[in-house]
């Protein structure tokens, strides 16, 4: 479903090129659950952002769902992104001014989904994540685990084929983290959502089907579980 060829990302610092990613080759099949690991500064998040079309590589070829991303215009890229990719963050990144319900609803609004349909979809996912009772609360009124649940629900509301998660459990305690990971596994197995997560935790990485280790912008190792 996804293929990176020779992807590099570099910045110019004082006349020298500093590589964040250095000639990465990566193929991801539909239905995989990949954990990207590596020390701080190894390029994990940058890789995830490039895969998620939030960032652009300095060079290389990028294919997603059969489209050559590096040849697409901003508008096409944005359309592709909107309907196929969901993002989950370590810091949840919910909008403080919106309620749980509205946070989840927002991506649908941006996709011009009709009001009645939006209602049905949001009700559905609230039910599935068992947060119906919290729908009128604001993010500040929720615990970290609950906020992340909302974040995931929001990422999934558009039924993306690919879910990207940047240290989704980083701000949670171990019990909450484990619940989230269980949820990911379920999504992957039952709904067939392809998941790529960045994590520091060996234990969380084990939930996936493949672990990729990054070191200094290069793939150091890749093993299937």
């Amino acid at each position: 479903m996804l293929s990176l060829k020779n992807i590099s990302k570099h910045y110019n610092v004082g006349g020298n090129k500093t590589f964040v990613l250095n000639k990465i080759d990566l193929d991801v099949d539909a239905g995989e659950f990949i954990s990207i690991m590596g020390p701080s500064g190894s390029g994990k998040s940058t890789l995830l952002n490039i895969i998620g079309l939030l960032d652009e590589p300095s060079e290389g070829y990028h294919y997603f769902l059969g489209e050559a991303i590096h040849n697409l215009k901003e508008k096409q890229r944005s359309a592709l992104y909107k309907s196929n990719i969901g993002f989950v963050f370590q810091a949840y990144h919910l909008i403080d001014e919106l309620t749980v319900y509205e946070n989840i609803e927002t991506p649908l609004i941006y996709q011009d989904v009709k009001s009645s349909e939006r209602k049905a979809l949001v009700a559905d996912i609230l039910d599935r994540f068992q947060i119906v009772g919290k729908k009128d609360l604001f993010p500040a009124q929720l615990s970290g685990g609950q906020q992340q649940l909302v974040g995931i629900a929001r990422a999934l509301i558009t039924k993306p084929k690919l879910l990207l998660a940047d240290e989704p459990t980083g701000n949670l305690n171990s019990k909450q983290g484990e619940d989230i990971m269980e949820l990911f596994r379920k999504l992957n197995k039952e709904d067939g959502v392809t998941i790529i997560q960045v994590t520091h935790s060996e234990k969380n990485a084990e939930f996936g089907s493949r672990i990729i280790n990054l070191l200094d912008g290069k793939i150091d190792s890749s093993r299937n579980i």
């Binding site: 939030l54 944005s78 909107k82 990144h93 001014e97 919106l98 927002t106």
Partner: protein, 802 residues
């Protein structure tokens, strides 16, 4: 979709109460002032335009200069012949009217049965008046209303005052105790925005001079109605041709005279003629006030703009998230515009309400009778919607474009860049440039006005009571004088033709000793009673005051038998080429009065201080006095006044007592400046308020942004005062920049303004320093709360947040 935009905007504004309030407060005050000023300006600009023939009516200006005059005289009062002669002679003139200000020298007493009133707005006009100006008659007939001598037209409210609901037409009013005048018509009240204002309008034919066509001694205002298509310039040319060709014999040698025509609609704001029916406004102030109105609005918008962009760092996160969720730039743009729109709408409504409440005070202040009736839906609705759109775009478009362009990844990390810091600083500097400018102007205008009031004008005005006695025979004046002179508290009494602070009479000196027979010098002259110089404390440089013997010589009835003696001022002596000591005993003639110079006075101001002192001649002549001047002693003024009033009542029970102090009259001459000063005070306060509001808002954000830096500095051992100095210095730098920019601008503007005064203060450096200190102090107080708060934070908290 739209509902969502509103909901988000609304919540966002509620969650950020401080900044929302600052934005709304600033904008509302700005909009309020803008509305008030617009109302005032519209009122000034529509002056006289309501007359159906406004575009065809012109006013005649009377101009002359003799060889010996320094400057030409441009006056709005014209001789009696102008209208009848030119109406007959010049084809382009359809009709003309002479208007005389009957209550100009003193109020007219009007009696109906037992009711007695002092009327201050009584005009006399030729019967063509209503044909030319076309007022609407509520009763009576416009064509014949003024055709017979002794006819009188009233305005609706005057008619009501005298006759209640009775029909006024045909009723007789007793005017100045001698003339019976019959009411022949009632018209609508004259609007406040008319240069010709009156409560009563009588027939010009009741004046003796109405039948005599004279080309000298002007007393009337002349207006012409031009034929459709006739150009004022060509009519003016023909008038002057007639003057030089036909009336050559009437012209005194060396005297150049000419007529000018002003469009009716130009008189109020563009005329430079003196002695108009009412003091004219000044187009310069209209420009200045329009500029002020726009500037105030811009300042208020800047606040909002600054707050929104300052908050960009905070919002960057939200924008990032929304973009990740698939928001397009257009959608974000609409969201931010909606926020701006909501703020603008709220400010507009509050500003409108504020303006409504402030309206009576403002119109009182502006000195123009603005009514709320000035607010018409026809212009207010487009103005408000225009304001809404402009302000929303002005405040919303830039932040919306700026914020919606954020890149999601960089911003999600928390802190967006605030690259537009320089723009923000520039805008704050702009606000303070305006504030400092206004502060300096206010101080200078106030200083100049105080200077005028306290200046030694050569006349001692204090404790001088002025009574309007318009034309009372001298023997009556004398009896009254004698009656009050025995009362305690009265030092001396004298009578004069004019008020000594506004001497208007235009005369000419001829037949001066040692000069050629052609010699003529235009001067200002005033008939006075003996004791004038003494009562007003005018200093004599040479010679002596009038004696009873001088008095006797001018008391004879026949003009030819009188022996005049003159008191001239220093400037007159100089204009005649004489030193004060040489002038004594020299012969001069003043419009046919031949006599000798008896004394030379030190120069004193007898006109507005806008003008420098010109030659003036005082002469004892007891034919017509309009003012009785009573010098009182300082103690127990109330008793003295009551005494004078009682004596007056016992002498003239049918004439209301009318008196004021000379000081008061003097101050009223500078009403225009006082008003400008007052308006300036208000708008200075408003600009300073808005600017400080902006600075305060900015301080909130800057201190928030520097939280971490301040925390680290505190850990490193910075004291509270170190931190306060560090944070405030950033703001004060901006204010200093503003001071440096604003000072020369203000200096230039005020220098120009002061040129209008012949007597003016010099612009001294301390005013600029004082303004600078004031501004810095204000700015410091404004930011001190925020900086102190920043300085007192617990550094652990500041560092943990990272």
């Amino acid at each position: 979709m739209i509902k969502t935009y509103f909901k988000t905007a609304w919540r966002y504004l509620l969650n950020n109460k401080t900044t929302t309030l600052i934005s709304i407060a600033g904008l509302a005050v700005g909009i309020c002032c803008f509305l008030l000023l617009t109302t005032y300006l519209l009122n000034e600009l529509r002056y006289d335009r309501f007359y159906p023939n406004a575009d065809r009516i012109v006013r005649v200006g009377n101009n002359y200069k003799t060889i010996n005059d320094n400057q030409e005289t441009n006056s709005a009062v014209t001789p009696t012949a102008v209208v009848p002669v030119f109406k007959r002679q010049i084809a382009g003139i359809e009709d003309g009217v002479r208007i005389y200000n009957y209550s100009g020298y003193k109020p007219v007493t009007v009696q109906y049965k037992d009711d007695l009133f002092n009327e201050k707005k009584v005009l006399l006009a030729d019967d063509s008046f209503f044909k030319i100006f076309g007022f609407k008659f509520l009763a009576g007939n416009a064509a014949s209303a003024l055709s017979t001598p002794g006819s009188l037209v009233l305005t609706a409210s005057t008619a009501k005052k005298y006759f209640g609901n009775d029909n006024p037409v045909g009723k007789i009013l007793k005017v100045n105790q001698t003339n019976n005048m019959m009411v022949t018509g009632v018209i609508e009240d004259v609007p406040a925005y008319s240069q010709i204002k009156f409560d009563m309008l009588g027939s010009y034919s009741m004046l003796d001079r109405s039948k005599v066509l004279k080309w000298d001694s002007g007393n009337d205002y002349s207006y012409f109605l031009l034929k459709p298509g006739a150009a004022a310039t060509s009519v003016q040319q023909k008038m002057n041709l007639y003057l030089t060709d036909v009336l050559k014999s009437q012209q005194k040698p060396g005297r150049h005279a000419w007529f000018t025509l002003e469009k009716l609609t130009d008189v109020h704001l563009h005329s430079s003629l003196s002695n108009g029916l009412e003091p004219s406004g000044n187009i310069k102030y209209i420009y200045i006030l329009s500029f002020v109105a726009v500037i105030l609005l811009v300042l208020a918008c800047i606040n909002f703009l600054n707050l929104v962009t300052a908050r960009a760092a905070e919002r960057a996160h939200e924008i990032g998230v929304r973009k990740v969720m698939g928001a397009q730039r257009k959608q974000l743009f609409i969201q931010f515009i909606t926020e701006a729109g909501l703020i603008t709408l709220a400010s507009l409504l509050i500003g409108l309400a504020l303006a409504y409440l402030a309206f009576p005070a403002f119109s009182n202040f502006a000195g123009s009778q603005l009514g709320l009736s000035t607010w018409r839906f026809t212009w207010l609705a487009p103005l408000l919607s225009g304001l809404f759109i402009t302000v929303t775009l002005l405040t919303g478009a830039y932040p919306a474009l700026y914020l919606s362009a954020f890149k999601p990844v960089t911003n999600m990390k928390g802190h967006g860049s605030s690259k537009n810091g320089n723009l923000r600083k520039g805008l704050v500097v702009l606000q303070f440039v305006v504030s400092v400018f206004f502060i300096i102007c206010t101080l200078i205008v106030g200083h100049q006005l105080r200077y005028i009031q306290s200046m030694d004008t050569g006349i001692n005005r204090s404790q001088v009571l002025v009574m309007d006695i318009g034309g009372m025979p001298f023997n009556k004046i004398e009896t009254f004088k004698n009656a009050i002179s025995t009362q305690p508290g009265i030092k001396s009494t004298t009578a004069s033709y004019d008020s000594p602070v506004q001497i208007k009479g235009g005369y000419t000196i001829t037949q001066a000793e040692g000069k050629s027979p052609d010699y003529s010098l235009s001067i200002t002259g005033i008939p006075v009673e003996r004791g004038f110089v003494n009562t007003l404390g005018i200093k004599l440089l040479q010679g002596s005051d009038y004696t009873p013997a001088d008095e006797k010589q001018v008391m004879t009835d026949t003009f030819a038998n009188r022996k005049y003696s003159f008191i001239i001022n220093e400037t007159a002596a100089r204009a005649l080429g004489w030193k004060p000591e040489q002038a004594i005993g020299k012969r001069i003639g003043v419009n046919g009065r031949i006599g000798k110079v008896k004394a030379v006075t030190r120069d004193f101001n007898f006109a507005s201080l806008h003008k420098s002192i010109t030659p003036v001649v005082l002469f004892a002549e007891y034919d017509w006095f309009s003012k009785l001047l009573i010098k009182t002693s300082a103690g127990n003024l109330q008793n003295t006044l009551t005494g004078i009033k009682q004596t007056w009542k016992s002498f003239y029970p049918n004439t209301p007592f009318e008196a004021h102090f000379l000081d008061q009259e003097f101050d009223e001459m500078y009403q225009n400046e006082q008003r400008t000063g007052g308006i300036l005070n208000i708008f200075t306060a408003v600009t300073v308020f808005i600017s400080c509001l902006g600075l305060f808002g900015l301080a909130i954000f800057t201190t928030k942004q520097r939280f971490k830096e301040v925390s680290i500095r505190k850990v490193l051992g910075a004291s509270v005062s170190n931190i306060v100095a560090l944070v405030s210095s950033d703001f004060l730098k901006l204010v200093f920049t503003a001071i440096i920019i604003a000072s020369p601008l203000a200096w230039y503007a005020m220098n120009r303004w002061l040129q209008d005064f012949a007597y003016r203060i010099t612009l001294s450096w301390w005013i600029f320093v004082l303004s600078a200190v004031l501004t810095v102090l204000l700015a410091f107080i404004t930011v001190s709360y925020q900086t102190l708060r920043a300085a007192l934070i617990n550094p652990v908290k500041g560092l943990r947040s990272e």
